[in-house]
């Protein structure tokens, strides 16, 4: 005879597993598209998500920087990734720089403008998302990466 308590625990565990398995996964995306760019600046439209609007804006800005640094943006003058495509290795190599850059939000010093262009709302029942148009000072960003020996200066 199986006690009632044990059956309840078993049911609870099965329910939890089912809930977790069927829940919507939030995968990192690079929904960043080129809008325009000239004279050392680049303007992109980036998507971000978060609990609050501010979090979603920060997430979108980080996505935009991630694409420029580790993916490159087709149609723009920065088609090749500024640093390299192996982001985990690059971040590990320069932990201190990226700690400041992302966690302490140093990346904001390279943002010339960041304007939300969509409503902050739930999409497909997931997290709340919004789109921003972000303009980045590409020349200053490249110089900063060069000065901190993250990338090589032009030449050998």
């Amino acid at each position: 005879m199986i006690p009632h308590k044990k059956i309840s625990v078993l049911l609870f565990v099965v329910l939890m597993i089912t809930t977790v398995s069927c829940s919507k996964k939030t995968l990192p995306t690079s929904e960043v598209n080129f809008l325009s760019g000239n004279d050392g600046t680049i303007t992109m439209r980036a998507m971000g998500s978060g609990q609050k609007q501010e979090d979603a804006i920060n997430d979108a800005e980080k996505n935009a920087f991630n694409v420029i640094l580790f993916r490159g943006l087709p149609q723009s003058e920065q088609k090749i990734a500024l640093i390299g495509t192996n982001e985990s290795e690059e971040i590990e190599k320069n932990k201190q720089y990226f700690e400041k850059f992302y966690t302490q939000m140093r990346y904001k010093t390279f943002v010339m403008s960041s304007i939300p262009v969509s409503n902050f709302k739930k999409q497909n029942g997931g997290l709340k998302r919004l789109a921003i148009d972000i303009k980045i000072n590409l020349v200053a960003l490249r110089k900063d990466l060069e000065q901190n020996n993250i990338i090589r200066k032009f030449g050998f």
Binding site: G40, E77, K153, F154, F156
Partner: protein
């Protein structure tokens, strides 16, 4: 006792003398800091049939603007280029041009400038009923091997304007950053995988040897000895043999490091040629070496 004192004195004086003689000049000593020798880059105009490289810039302001804008692009990356006009003037003053053939003139200017990389800019003016535009073809080459480093086509877009200078400027702006990014990717590859030199090995007219001469302690043919040496000494074992005949062997792409792997000092084709020279000496041959830019000529007597 007196002898011992004398020995010490001789030792100290010898030590001081040796140090003074062989130490690096205090004026140039940087305390072990080594700055990588940067490539020399020159931007030159493209010339069509019937155009003269020496006068093409004077005749076409669009080309002058395009070239200046490209140089500006290099400057914005903190890189100084070799000035084509200044080199051209120097070549004219020194009567360096020995022929009127345009290909010769181009190679003479590149050789005289000492440029490792040259960027060729072709400006195409397009006039039409729906507006005027300027197209630009940018091509970067490694001077020694002719390897292509970067290629881009820029377009100004069509405008109802006769200001071709502005259109040329727009065409450069549309592609110069991308062009430099690709070139930098190639430079990084050179840093990681070495730069190319050409090695041309031949025999003096009166030489008793040829490529199939069995030579060295193991009695292997000379061409195989050379290949075995290249296997060991080319940077990351990266070399390419263009062809071997009995009287000649051309290695059209041998990678050498930018820095000496043991000392960390700058490494160059001269140093590689010296190693090659020592190798031939070690085989009991009498080699002569000649180095022109990134091409090493070895002649076996």
């Amino acid at each position: 006792m007196k002898n011992k004192f004398l020995n010490y004195l001789v030792f100290i004086v010898t030590l001081c003398f040796t140090n003074i003689t062989f130490s690096q000049n205090s004026v140039t000593n940087t305390g072990g800091l080594v700055t990588t020798v940067q490539p020399k880059i020159m931007v030159i105009p493209y010339t069509k049939d019937g155009e003269d490289l020496r006068t093409v810039l004077e005749e076409d302001p669009n080309k002058r603007i395009a070239i200046t804008k490209i140089k500006e692009g290099f400057d914005s990356r903190g890189f100084t280029t070799v000035d084509f006009i200044a080199k051209l003037k120097a070549a004219k003053d020194n009567n360096a041009f020995t022929s009127d053939n345009q290909t010769d003139i181009k190679s003479q200017i590149i050789q005289m400038s000492g440029a490792d990389v040259y960027v060729q800019a072709e400006v195409i003016v397009d006039k039409g009923g729906s507006g005027n535009s300027v197209k630009l073809i940018l091509t970067g080459y490694e001077a020694s091997t002719g390897n292509s480093l970067s290629n881009k086509v820029g377009e100004s877009g069509k405008f109802y304007t006769d200001d071709f200078n502005k259109l040329a400027s727009k065409a450069v702006e549309s592609c110069v950053e991308d062009f430099l990014n690709v070139m930098q990717a190639k430079f990084t590859d050179i840093v990681n995988n070495g730069k190319s030199v050409i090695v041309d090995i031949s025999f003096d007219a009166g030489s008793q040897y040829n490529m199939s001469s069995e030579i060295g302690s193991d009695g292997l043919p000379l061409s195989d000895q050379i290949e075995m040496w290249m296997e060991k000494n080319a940077f990351k074992n990266n070399y390419h043999i263009q062809g071997t005949t009995d009287l000649r062997m051309i290695l059209d792409d041998v990678k050498i490091p930018l820095k000496d792997q043991t000392t960390g000092n700058n490494y160059n084709p001269n140093k590689f040629a010296l190693e090659l020279f020592k190798f031939f000496k070690g085989l009991g041959l009498q080699p002569a070496k000649d180095i022109k830019s990134n091409t090493i000529y070895i002649t076996i007597k």
